[in-house]
């Protein structure tokens, strides 16, 4: 369990948005599985925490939801990006990229010294 990281505040939203961008409309359970998969099972994710996060994104207008039918013919609520959401993903991803690059440089520099 030690190697599995908790989800940091704020990063979950970006993961959700990015996942929706690549996969298209998806239900909550699918999103949760997908996020875990992509992280290579390195993330410790309580599926329950995903729903308030989704609600928050919906309230902020970056995603919207509607009821649909899953691949296994089950009624499920599907989430998809709105136009504002698409913009948000690009922006947030770029910002995140920059932050990690800078941080990586710092850590790298500290290592060389």
């Amino acid at each position: 369990m030690g190697e599995r990281a908790d989800v940091w505040q704020g990063t979950l939203a970006l993961m959700v948005l990015k996942t929706l961008e690549t996969m298209g409309p998806q239900h909550g359970y699918g999103l949760a599985r997908r996020i875990e998969q992509i992280s290579g099972d390195k993330l410790q994710l309580n599926y329950g925490t995903l729903y308030p996060a989704l609600l928050k994104l919906e309230q902020e207008g970056t995603i919207r939801s509607r009821w649909g039918v899953s691949e296994n013919n089950r009624r499920a609520k599907f989430y998809e990006l709105t136009r504002a959401g698409q913009r948000q993903v690009r922006k947030a991803a770029a910002e995140w990229q920059q932050t990690t690059e800078i941080l990586a440089r710092f850590l790298g520099a500290a290592g060389e010294a």
Binding site: Y29, G48, T49, Y51, P52, E58, E60, R74, A76
Partner: protein, 885 residues
Amino acid sequence: MQKLRALWMRLCGLLLHPRGHQDDFEAELESHLAMHTEDGIRAGLSAQEARQQALIKLGGVEQTRQAYRERATMPWLENLVRDVRYAPRTLVRQRAVSAVAVISIGLGIGANATIFSMVSRFVLRPAPVGDPSTLLSLQIIADRESCCNNFSWPLYQDLREDARSFANVAAYYDLVPASIGGYGEPERVWGQATTNNFFDTLELPMVLGRGFSSNDELQPVIVLGQNLWKRRFNGDSAIVGKTILLSGRSFTVVGIAPAAFHSVDQILHTEFWVPLGIAAQLVPNLPSKAPRDYHWLDVVARMRPGVTRLQVQAEMDTLAARFAQSFPATDKGERFAMEQAGALPMRDRSSVLIFLGALLLVALLLLAIAAANVANLLFAQAASRQRDMAVRLALGATRGRLRRQMLIESTLMAICGGIMGVLLSLGSTRGLSALRLPAPVPLDLHVGLDWRVLLFCFLLSVLSGVLLGIGPAWAAARPLVPNALKGEEALARPGRKLSLRNLLMVAQTAMSVVLLSATVLFLRSLQEAAGINIGFNPRGMLIFSVDPRVHGYTATKTVAFLDQLRERLRALPGVAAAVCTDVAPLSGGNRSDGFSAADQSGKQLPSAELYMVTPGYFEALGIRRLAGRDFGSETAGGPKIAVVNEAFAERLFGETDAVGRHINGPTGNYEIVGVVGNMKSRTLGEQTRPILYRSLAQSVEGDPSLMGYTLIMKTAGDPAALSETVRRQVYALDPAMAIYNEETMEEHVRTAYVLPNLAATLFGIFGGMGVILAATGLYGVVSYSVSRRTREIGIRIALGARPGTVEGLFVRQGIALTLIALALGWPAAWMLTKIAASLLYGVQPHDAVTFLCVPLFLVAIALVACWIPARRAALVDPMRALRTE
């Protein structure tokens, strides 16, 4: 933006579909678990294991639900909303208590709203001009004087040229009477004469047209007030550029001023404005522009942007010093004073502020009494709810939550009271606005509710709701839970003698002692005022005024017109006498001059009232003649004669018989031909003033009255019935003559009683309410204590106590509280009623009757209020009392 949107969505979630969200989420959660379980089964787990796994991975259904709910809405707000929704239900359940509370607070807030609407109108409201904060009214304060004077023309000119702090300085002459043309019966209106930069200085947003321009100085142009324009010209939108008739002369309308603007000072009610340069056409005795020591102009100045009041004052001081050096004869020792334009006139400010302050204090006192009363009611209520509270506490509610809920209830109650108060004050301010002050000039004293009043009421309601609720809420939220659940008294702490309820009750009674003292004082003052000898008999008289001068009459023609009119009126059936004067007595203000004896003594009389009268005036008004004769058939050019009143003769000659003496005054030398009894000249409350009556025929030429001339008809029948015939007689002589101030003399005198009446009415209402509230408060305290001690009473009676003893027990308790309250309230009343001294007629503020009667009366009321519940205690059936619960 996103945050805002989210907040909005959460609010909607809270208010619009509190349940919908939750159901939707339940379904989503269910589908999530189902999918997860399916996957588990596919991976080879048993159905039960798979479900178990899914639940663990989810992190708990209840936790998820909770987290989702908190995100969907705003939990603290949700709780608040729930409490607010719950509060009306509680209030409705305790209907009687709520009704009493709302009515009490409503009366208190209503009183405050009424008084504060006067404060708002006269103290807080800025003038309706462009940027009122940079417009100043200027005044001169002469050497060693406390208050102020107007400007002379030369001084205004110097100031306008020299002062650098001002962008513009304008002057105006504040009252110009005129008759105006247009539709309807002829009408006399008041206006002002202004310098041509007046409207530019005020930056008044005109309704139509423009103000005066720099080359209007000597042009016959006029700006009309919006109301006058609507009333006389049907709001003709093409009026700008047209010519109208003002006192028989043609004026070209250049603009319409907004209805809200009546005059810079917000008190005078003027309706037209003409350039100062041509005002002499309307006001024949307009002061001359030349003398530097004749102070007749009001001055307003617009500060330059960026200049502060301090800088202005500094420059004004420098200028005053320079003027004093250049013109030592007239300007020595003078300073300039200034204030924001539209503020209360400096001269009257302190007395108005004291009056309003005293009234506001009284209204707040009343509200405090009402709030104390309601707080006591809530204490009793809390006692009956202790079980409910204890159950909730036992079930895990926090005390904070209970307190908050009770505070919300009391605040809601107070806000309902506030709404009721505002509604009440709608009526009372209308009544106040309908009052007419005795004054010879047109005043705008309209009072209404504005946003300041509404804000004040709202804040006051919330504040009183919280204050009155805080004690009961505190007490109610900490019952001794075990006691309460057993149905026993749970609010009283062991070993506590001094309860908050008793303290409130004492405070409330003490306050009502103060109120009641004021009430009795003002009632006594009204009684005294009714007994004031005004010196004449107002019965059976109709009065009305005309001002022939503003219709272009010369002095000779004016006198002839008045003579003809009197003759026609005298000839009417039922008219016993028709006389004429310039201003009817008790009109609130009058002219006065200084006089000196024209003999060796040269004794001075600094100020005597001046009246013009026609022969028969004294007889018609029932003023006693003490010596000499009445006026006769003097001619305008003949030697001037006068009749004086007793006070005049005594002050100047030391004796009543002054007939044959000569006196000097600013209007010439007079021979005294008669002496008459004293009468009240300006107001009811005045000390007897010396009066000099001149012959109307001899005075119109040299010293015409700006107020016009008042005709007085004496009749044996109903004077009001004469109105129509009288008007016909006037129009028969001149169909264009405006008639104004028509009323019976009794109506006229009644307006002189407006102040003692108003004070007595207001204080009568306030004091009466205070006493009733105090009495119900006392009743409440005693009956609460009776109900709490029912079991004890039962035991006492069972052990042989007589009903009288039991009664005495409770009456003693109530009376003790009342006596403590009296000991506190009486000295406070003694100190506070001093403020009212200037408003009283013929009664000392420390009136013995008042200060003896009030305590006795209160004790009597207290006895009754205590006796009723005490009697109930004495009738307690011991068997039932001991079996309670």
